[in-house]
């Protein structure tokens, strides 16, 4: 009888340890998955903002809203125009999308909403730029659907 009880307690301990081990593994996998999701959102937020202030794309100025210098055949990085900013359309990367652009010139903020989708998690990337030759701060908000 004593031997059976000992064995039973041992089984319970071994099972509990295995359960803890399984929980730890699951927790690790979930954290790794969440880390990748967070990275994806951060990467898209930062590089969309990067592209917005460094490029010019006439088809969708969210991919680049810089002023184009026709003489030099180059875009003027960090120099944007209000016209280009207001022409921006929404852009999506799977379940990640650009929600809005806010720019502040002379202390007055102006927001352009690009999407009305419900969002669960958002990241804003802030950049210092020139808008129509005036110093400005631009904020691009990138969100995850949900």
């Amino acid at each position: 009888m004593i031997f059976s009880l000992d064995a039973m307690i041992s089984f319970v301990i071994v099972l509990a340890c295995t359960l803890l081990f399984v929980f730890a593994l699951n927790n690790y996998a979930q954290r790794a998955e969440q880390g990748l999701k967070d990275f994806e959102l951060e990467e898209k937020a930062l590089l969309t903002a990067d592209s917005f202030v460094k490029n010019f794309d006439e088809n969708n100025t969210i991919r680049g809203a810089c002023v184009y210098d026709a003489e030099k055949k180059r875009v003027r990085t960090n120099e944007l125009s209000r016209e280009n900013i207001t022409k921006a359309k929404g852009i999506e990367f799977g379940n990640i999308f650009v929600k809005s652009i806010t720019f502040t010139t002379n202390g007055t903020p102006e927001t352009i909403a690009l999407s009305s989708k419900k969002s669960s998690e958002c990241i804003s990337a802030k950049r210092f730029v020139l808008i129509d030759r005036e110093k400005a701060i631009i904020l691009i908000q990138t969100c995850r659907e949900g």
Binding site: A7, V14, F21, L36, K54, R63
Partner: protein
């Protein structure tokens, strides 16, 4: 009676061991699958980051070998039987290596 107790206990012990080994094996397979998924997703995300970075910084081509397939702005990577996708700001020109579209003013 004591011998019967011992035999029953041994049987229970062996059954529990078999159960635990089975559970651990199942969990090992799950972890391997998850690991493949994570590898595939991180490779696809790396490709996306490289393409985004190339597009933002007016680069055109990335010559290092990278395990991604590209179609427009969708990138996919496969590890064993797990395929994961990521997206890029830019559209790609080739399917087998990383090359982004060139905007009009750079031509």
């Amino acid at each position: 009676m004591n011998t019967l107790d011992a035999v029953l206990s041994l049987c229970a012990l062996l059954s529990c061991f078999a159960l635990i080994i089975g559970a651990i094996n199942e969990e090992k397979n799950n972890v391997l699958e998850t690991s493949d998924s994570i590898k595939a997703k991180s490779t696809a995300l790396s490709c996306g980051s490289i393409l985004d970075s190339m597009f933002s910084n007016s680069a055109e081509e990335y010559t290092q070998s990278i395990n991604c397939k590209t179609q427009n702005n969708v990138l996919s990577s496969t590890q064993k039987n797990k395929t994961k996708t990521a997206y890029s700001i830019a559209n790609t020109k080739k399917e087998t290596y990383l090359e982004v579209e060139k905007l009009e003013h750079y031509r």
